[in-house]
C-alpha cells in the first residue's frame, strides 16, 4: 500500500477532494499546513514595520491506497489541483506497511 500525500492550494481542496472521491477513494485525511517554495511570500505591514509571510497556507491531503491505484490518483489530483501558477504544490508517494481499521480490526488491503 502507498501513502499519497498532496500539498495543494486551499482553494483547490474541494476540487481535489471530489476528484479523489470520484475515483472511489472514500478514505482521506486532510490537514491545514503552511508551505514555503519558489512561490513568493506576501508582504505585510504592522505599525510601520514591513514583514513577509513566506509560509503560505496549503492543504495537505493524504490518501492511503493500493499500489495499483497510485497512478490514477496522482493523475486525478494533479488535474484538479493545477492552476498553472507557481505554488500549485507537490505530491509525495511513500510506502505503507500495514493498515488497521480500528472499528473492525481488519488489517491490510481490506482495511482500506
Amino acid at each position: 500500500m502507498k501513502k499519497v500525500e498532496a500539498i495543494v492550494r486551499p482553494e483547490r481542496l474541494e476540487a481535489v477532494k471530489s476528484a479523489v472521491v470520484e475515483l472511489g477513494h472514500n478514505g482521506l485525511t486532510v490537514c491545514e499546513v503552511k508551505g514555503h517554495g519558489i512561490q513568493k511570500g506576501v508582504t505585510q505591514h504592522w505599525r510601520g514595520e514591513e514583514y513577509v509571510i513566506d509560509l503560505l497556507p496549503k492543504i495537505s491531503l493524504v490518501a492511503v491506497v493500493h499500489d495499483h491505484e497510485v497512478a490514477d490518483i496522482i493523475d486525478a489530483i494533479s488535474k484538479a489541483a493545477r492552476t498553472d501558477h507557481i505554488g500549485d504544490g507537490k505530491i509525495f508517494v511513500s510506502p505503507i506497511e500495514e493498515v488497521i481499521r480500528i472499528r473492525t480490526g481488519e488489517t491490510g488491503a481490506e482495511a482500506l
Binding site: E14, I53, L56, P57, T83, H85, G87
Partner: protein, 494 residues
Amino acid sequence: AAAVTAETPGAPTLAEVAADTGTVKIGMNFFFLIMGVCLIFFMQAGFMLVETGFCRSKHAAHVAMTNFVIFAVGALTYWAVGFALQFGSLGAFYWAPGAEAILNGEAVKAGVNAFAGTKGFFLGTLGDGTYDPGVFVFFLFQMVFMDTAATIVTGGMAERWKFSAFLPFGVFMGAIVYPLYGMWVWGGGWLATLGANYGFGNGVVDFAGSSVVHAVGGFAALAGAMVLGPRLGKFKADGTPVALPGHNIPMAILGTIILVFGWFGFNGMSTLAATDLRASIIIANTMLAGSAGCLAAMFLVWKLWGKPDPSMAVNGMLAGLVAITAPCGFVTPLSSVIIGALAGFLVVGSVVFVERVLKVDDPVGAVSVHGVNGAWGMIALGLFADGSYGAGWNGVDSAVTGLFYGNGGQLIAQLIAVVTVFVWSFGMHYVFFKIQDAVQGIRSSKADEIAGLDPGEMGVLAYPDMAGSGPLGEGSLAAEAAGLVQPKPVGSEA
C-alpha cells in the same frame, strides 16, 4: 429652591424661576438628544460586528475597517456639505431656539415643492457661523443617522469591494443621496409637504427613518451588490447559490444586541425632546416589534430548514426593528407585534428571493433587512397608524392616521415615499457605481479576493495567530477564481 439662581438666594422671583425652568428644559432636551447621539453612534459597533461576523475570516479586517472608517468619512462630509443640503432651509424650529441664525437659507424650490437646503455648510464655520448649541446638537443627531445609512451598504457589498473605491462612496452618500432624500422627508421637502400641498394625509411620515435611513441604505446596497457582482464561488455555473458561512456567530449576535441597544436612541430619542413623553411608548413598541421579528424569522426557518438558524434570528430581530422605525410613534403595541412578526417572515422570504431569484449576492442580508423592511415599515405606518399622535405633523392638523383607522391618503403618501426612495437611492447609486467602476474599478482583484482582502488590501491578517484564519495567495492567481474557472487539464501542456 436654594438651587435656583436668584439675586436673593433662597427667594427667587417668578422671572428667576422662569429663567431657570427654561434653561433646565432646554438643557434637558439637548441632553436627551446627546444621549440619542451616543446610542445611535454606537450602532457603528453593532454593524461592524454583525457584518464582520457574517463574513469570512480572510476578509474580517477589511469588513471591520469599512464599517469603522465610514464614520470618519461620513462625519466630515456631512459637516461640510450634507447637513446644509438637508436642513439648511429648515428655519426656526421649536426645540432648537437659535437655529434660525444658521439654518435659514432659501430652499431650492420648484413651485411649492422644496428639494434642497442651502445654508450651514461646515456648520457655518467658514463664514456665517455661530456657536448655536441647538444647531450643533441637531447636527450631531442627524449625522449619526446618516452614518447608519452609509454603514448598511458596507454589508451588502462586503468581501469584494475595493477599499479605495469604497471611500468615494462614503462621500457621495453623505453629501448627496442621504441628505437630499432626508431633506424631502424631514427637512420640509416635497415629500413632507404632500399632505399640506396635495392632501395626502400628513404627507410622508417616517418617524425615525425606516425610509430615510434604512431603505436608503438597503437599496444602495442592492445597487452596489448588483454592480459588483457576486463573490467568487457564490453561485455555481448553473446559478445555484452556495453557502459561504460567516466566520463568527457570537460576534454577529453581540453586534445585534448592540444594535438593539442603539435602537433605543434611534427611535426613542427621535421625539427630539424628553418633554415629549411619547418616547416610552415608542421604545416599548420598538422592543416588541424586534422581539416578534426575531421569533417569527427563527420559527419560520426552523420550520423550513430544520434548525433555528442564528443568522436568520439575528436578521429577524433587525427586520422587526427596521419595520417599526417609521410607525413606532403612531401604533399600538399589538400592531407593533404584528408589524414586527410580518417583518420577520418578510426578511426570510426576501433573503431567499434576492439570492435565488435575483441572483444578487448580499452577504449579510442588508437589502432584505434594511431595504425591504424599510419599505414595509413605511407601508405599515400607512396601515396601522391609529390617530393617537402626530397632530400638526408636517403642518397638517389631524393626527397621523392609517388605512385601518380610516385614512387611505396617508397610505398613498407612504407608497409615494417607498417608490421615491427606491428610485432615488437605488438609481443614484447604480449610476454612481457604474461610472466609478468604469473610471476606477470598484471590485477587488480576484487574487486578493481569493487570498483574502486582509492581506491583499489591508496589509494585515485579522487573526494572524489562528491556524486556518484564511488562506493567502499571490498576485499570480489573478486569472483564476476558486471553483469558477476550470483548471486546465494536466495533459494539455505537460
